[in-house]
């Protein structure tokens, strides 16, 4: 077991390195570089940036050097715990990402928890009361959530929130507590603002999980051991929860791995629309401005999360399902 984890961890490390190379390369793909984007911005507000000034900037930012040199410079910094300087924000990358990363995790985890809290019971109900009106209703709503684009849903809910409830538009905090240091009041404020983003982010995933849960459970419910358990006199609920549901949870465990980064990356547009101070909008802006170190670091972190998530889900799977044992045993 330990050897298994060890091997997987080593592979994970290699994967993360490969991601860093790829992400750095991809960010360089659009024509030009940060300076080009900077010139574009200047041009659209009427300022002139001359050729010499542009060249000067390139030298100062180290953009004149070949890509692998820039990459090595970045790796050099990372190994020392410094993620480089963001050209657009003119602050160290670590500072810019800093608080946002925690909030991203909070929002994503909230969305994940909400997804499961909604999907599991609904999925179970759908399977047990198959083809009932409740089943159809749940499926219908689920598919609407799946079909409507997140950001549209976000905009509509924002607008409705304002029109019906006079709610504050977007963001995760009320304006007064925006920059305040952490306190109970701020945490409570965060919790108050969390439901809408978590709901929107989770809705699409919910439909998917409901269907999966329903399908798996239906399979399990037809198996002989359920009949055995029922005939042995166990209550319906206990029959349901103790055996088939546990088995049907199998695919959930294996999807933890990619669900978290899926929510984080899927939330980029929703975060943008809702004005959430998470990593998503930051990444988008960094990519458009070709702010190399910032974009590269975020993509790297997302990759790292995916790899760690997959590692965790592999371990969890091995742990909860005795049928999946290692080749050696």
């Amino acid at each position: 077991m330990l050897a298994y984890i060890g091997r997987r961890a080593l592979l994970a490390l290699f994967t993360v390195w490969a991601i860093s190379v790829l992400s750095f390369a991809i960010i360089q793909l659009p024509p030009g570089d940060y300076v080009t984007s900077y010139i574009a911005q200047m041009a659209s507000s009427g300022s002139v940036v001359t050729e010499e000034e542009a060249q000067n900037l390139r030298i100062q930012y180290g953009l004149g050097q070949p890509i692998y040199v820039q990459y090595l410079k970045w790796m050099n910094l990372i190994v020392r715990g410094n993620f480089g300087m963001s050209m657009e924000w003119r602050r160290p990358v670590a500072e810019v990402i800093g608080e946002r990363l925690w909030l991203t995790v909070v929002v994503s985890v909230a969305a994940l928890i909400l997804t499961w809290v909604l999907a599991l019971p609904i999925g179970i109900y759908s399977a047990v009361r198959q083809y009932s009106p409740g089943d159809y209703a749940a499926t219908f709503v689920g598919f609407i959530g799946l079909a409507v684009p997140n950001f549209l849903l976000a905009l509509v809910l924002l607008y409705l929130g304002f029109v019906l409830f006079n709610a504050h538009i977007g963001g995760l905090f009320s304006p007064e507590l925006q920059d305040a240091p952490w306190s109970t009041a701020r945490v409570v404020d965060l919790l108050k603002h969390l439901p809408v983003p978590a709901l929107i982010l989770g809705l699409a995933g919910t439909a998917q999980q409901v269907r999966i849960m329903r399908a798996n459970l239906l399979d399990e419910l037809r198996k002989p051991y359920v009949v055995t358990a029922r005939s042995k006199g166990l209550s319906e609920l206990r029959v349901l929860l103790k055996y088939p549901v546990r088995l049907a949870l199998n695919p959930f465990a294996s999807t933890i791995g990619y669900t978290l980064p899926y929510i984080v990356s899927g939330s980029i547009i929703v975060s943008l629309v809702l004005g959430l101070p998470t990593v998503g909008p930051l990444l988008l802006k960094a990519l458009i401005a070709q702010d190399m170190f910032l974009a590269g670091t975020i993509v790297l972190l997302l990759g790292l999360m995916t790899v760690i998530g997959t590692l965790i889900s592999d371990i969890v799977l091995v742990w909860i399902d005795p049928r999946i044992r290692l080749e050696e045993t």
Binding site: G46, G170, L272
Partner: protein, 675 residues
């Protein structure tokens, strides 16, 4: 039988009601639209020595600090020559926080426009026409225009209490502007006919700008948003003046290189140049001394950009109250334009002009009561919120190059556009269809007949012209064929998405309209960097953009003729090179464009009356030759939709909307107050 009839009746009634609702809605909108554009008004700078107040008052918090001995008394802080502004409606009250929104660290114009004063030496009056003394007490012309004396205000101080003197100008000129590391290319605005000028100290409160030839336009250049316009462009090493006492500690001439290197490393910058420019950044460095009414307290690269009152502000009102009235300006980050607009609709901003989308006008109007605000429209003065530039130096396809360089071809294409349809759809009727010339009230406007010149919808004439010049043959779908026999004449327009104006969608509409004159237009939306790359490489055929700033065509020539390579839409990159290298590089433009360029260059060195005539001549050529097609202009699409809370005072009904006027700076936000 009856059920079918009743169903039909139901449908008809529903449709009838629906259209009725739509009609009422539309009627309601069109009624209120005309009342949204008020009369142009604004505060005035008082220059009459007799009217300057002798006693001053200050904000309560500052009075407290004076009592506690932490600040010198207000008269000492302002000096003997205050900058007196007569508020638009009434003397205001101190207090309040102005809430607004910005979109990120690239949005620094937002702060300059609202809160920098502005800190130009001269500045426009509220009509945008006349340059008035501002930070400078006055300008005096000498030596036939070859020298200008700038009189500073006695006793004026930087925001940290140190005196603002001629030394700050000399420091800027000698140690920043002339330092090749900080400023690699000198500015064309501190030069006349290509020859650089200089700045020298006369005495503590007088500076001289000297030029080798007469530079009559200097007052306008000092008034506009140019390289000599205060600390707005300090982050690029420009400005005309800089706080010498503060910046010397970051400059290798005054601090040893070794010590400077250590400072650079500690502050985690890449080089002393980057550190110096970051320290000289009005929006980024809270420690930078400024002369604007508010100064940055929390910088622009955080989620909340806050500006607080400057206790040494030299601005006062006619009753002697030190301005600004409003204590604090708080700009909150809204990374997405939709969120910003929604927040405006919800009434979360007190005064917001930047980034408000004209397309949301109906919702904005609808929520005025609930949000506690009023909507104002400030149409710009420039002729084109949407223009189409022909790249006249395009050479990848000789046939297309030939047609672009044929004036009648350009004119015919202009006649084929239904501007009224576009105006209704995208500007909700608030724009003015027409050519590229600026508004009729602009001093360079050549005459009302030039607005409609070649800029009406005349399909018959357009088709006639195209037939006559050699494009008479058409294919089966009705599109004209190329004269060289290589098939259909297909031209391409490059647009940018996500801007204040919906260039792509408008181009799509023009594509449909041009089918009627047999022209096949391909619309290609690209990302900004790609657009820049393509235009600089002379690959663009047609480009869509706006010509804002062109109402001040001498300080903003970018959209009058090809002036610079870094543009998202260009009239000829090869001509840019020719213009700037005095003929050594690039390609020579055709005669009439050359004439236009000559007139532009000449205007800087001639007295105002002659300059105005040259300006009119330039626009005449532009309107006649149609190098650039004007579609809809003099409208509020860019920065022209204003949301103001009803409890704010001294708000103009309409203000001059221009980047040169740094709108709303032209309405002197330091005089805004909460009732």
């Amino acid at each position: 039988m009856t059920t079918r009839w009743s169903r039909l009746m139901a449908v008809l009634v529903a449709v009838g009601m629906l259209s009725g609702v739509i009609a009422v809605g539309a009627l309601a909108q069109s009624e209120s639209k005309t009342s949204l554009i008020g009369k142009l008004e604004g505060p005035e700078v008082v220059t009459d020595a007799g009217k300057i107040p002798k006693a001053f008052k200050e904000a309560p918090q500052l009075a407290e600090l004076v009592k506690a001995g932490k600040l010198p008394p207000v008269a000492e802080r302002i000096g003997q020559d205050p900058l007196v502004i007569k508020p638009l409606h009434s003397i205001g009250k101190y207090g309040g926080t102005w809430r607004s929104g910005f979109t990120g660290p690239a949005d620094f114009w937002n702060g300059f426009r609202c809160c920098s004063g502005p800190d130009h030496l001269m500045f426009w009056d509220y009509t945008g026409d006349k340059a008035m003394p501002n930070i400078a007490k006055g300008l005096e012309m000498q030596d036939g225009g070859r020298a200008w004396l700038v009189h500073l205000r006695r006793g004026m101080k930087w925001s940290d209490g140190k005196p603002f003197t001629a030394d700050d100008f000399v420091f800027w000129f000698e140690d920043i502007y002339r330092n090749k590391d900080l400023v690699p290319t000198p500015s064309a605005q501190l030069a006349i006919n290509g020859k650089q000028g200089s700045i020298e100290k006369v005495d503590t409160h007088t500076v001289r700008f000297k030029f080798p030839e007469p530079y009559f336009m200097l007052p306008d250049v000092l008034a506009g948003a140019t390289d000599l316009a205060g600390q707005g462009f300090a982050y690029r090493g420009m400005g005309g003046f800089a706080p010498a006492h503060y910046l010397k500690q970051f400059h290798p001439k005054y601090v040893g290189q070794a010590e400077l290197d250590k400072k650079v490393k500690d502050a985690k910058f890449d080089s002393w140049v980057r550190m110096f420019l970051a320290k000289n950044d009005w929006a980024l460095n809270p420690d930078l001394p400024v002369v604007s009414p508010w100064k940055t307290a929390t910088p622009i690269n955080t989620p909340t950009w806050t500006l607080e009152r400057n206790p040494y502000s030299v601005f006062v009102d006619t009753a002697g109250n030190q301005l600004p009235y409003i204590d604090k300006v708080v700009l909150t980050l809204a990374e997405n334009l939709e969120v910003l607009n929604l927040r405006a609709i919800a009434g979360e901003y007190d005064y917001q002009q930047r980034h408000i989308d004209l397309g949301k006008l109906p919702v904005l109007i609808e929520n005025q009561q609930k949000g506690g605000y009023k909507v104002h429209l400030d149409p710009g003065d420039y002729g084109g919120d949407m223009i189409i530039k022909f790249n006249l130096s395009y050479d990848a396809d000789p046939e297309i190059a030939k047609w672009f360089n044929t004036a009648d071809f350009r004119r015919a294409l202009s006649l084929g556009i239904d501007r009224d349809q576009i105006n209704e759809t995208f500007w909700l009727g608030t724009g003015t269809p027409g050519s590229v010339v600026p508004a009729d009230t602009n001093k360079y406007n050549p005459g009302p007949q030039y607005r409609k010149m070649w800029s009406t919808l005349d399909l018959k004439k357009a088709n006639e012209i195209l037939d006559k010049i050699g494009l008479a043959k058409k294919d089966a779908q009705g599109y004209r064929l190329r004269a060289d026999g290589k098939g259909r004449l297909r031209i391409e327009i490059m647009t940018l998405g996500g801007q204040f104006v919906q260039y792509t969608q408008i181009s799509e509409m023009i594509r449909e309209q041009w089918k009627k004159i047999g022209i096949d237009l391909q619309v290609q939306e690209v990302e900004r960097s790609l657009a820049l790359k393509r235009t600089a490489a002379n690959e663009q055929q047609l480009g869509a953009w706006n010509n804002d700033g062109s109402e001040h065509l001498f300080t903003f020539p970018l959209h009058v003729f090809p002036f610079e390579l870094a543009a998202v839409a260009t009239s000829g990159p090869l001509y840019v090179k020719w213009f700037h290298s005095a003929g050594a590089q690039g390609k020579e433009p055709e005669p009439r464009m050359k004439e236009l360029m000559e007139k532009w260059k000449k205007a800087f060195g001639v007295p105002e009356k002659e300059r105005i005539q040259l300006g009119k001549d330039i626009w005449k050529i532009a309107a006649e030759e149609v190098y650039i097609i004007g579609v809809v202009g003099v409208g509020p699409a860019a920065n022209g939709v204003r949301i103001v809370k009803t409890n704010m005072g001294n708000i103009p009904a309409r203000q001059y909307n221009s980047p040169d006027g740094k709108t709303p700076a032209i309405s002197r936000p330091a005089t805004f107050y909460y009732k």
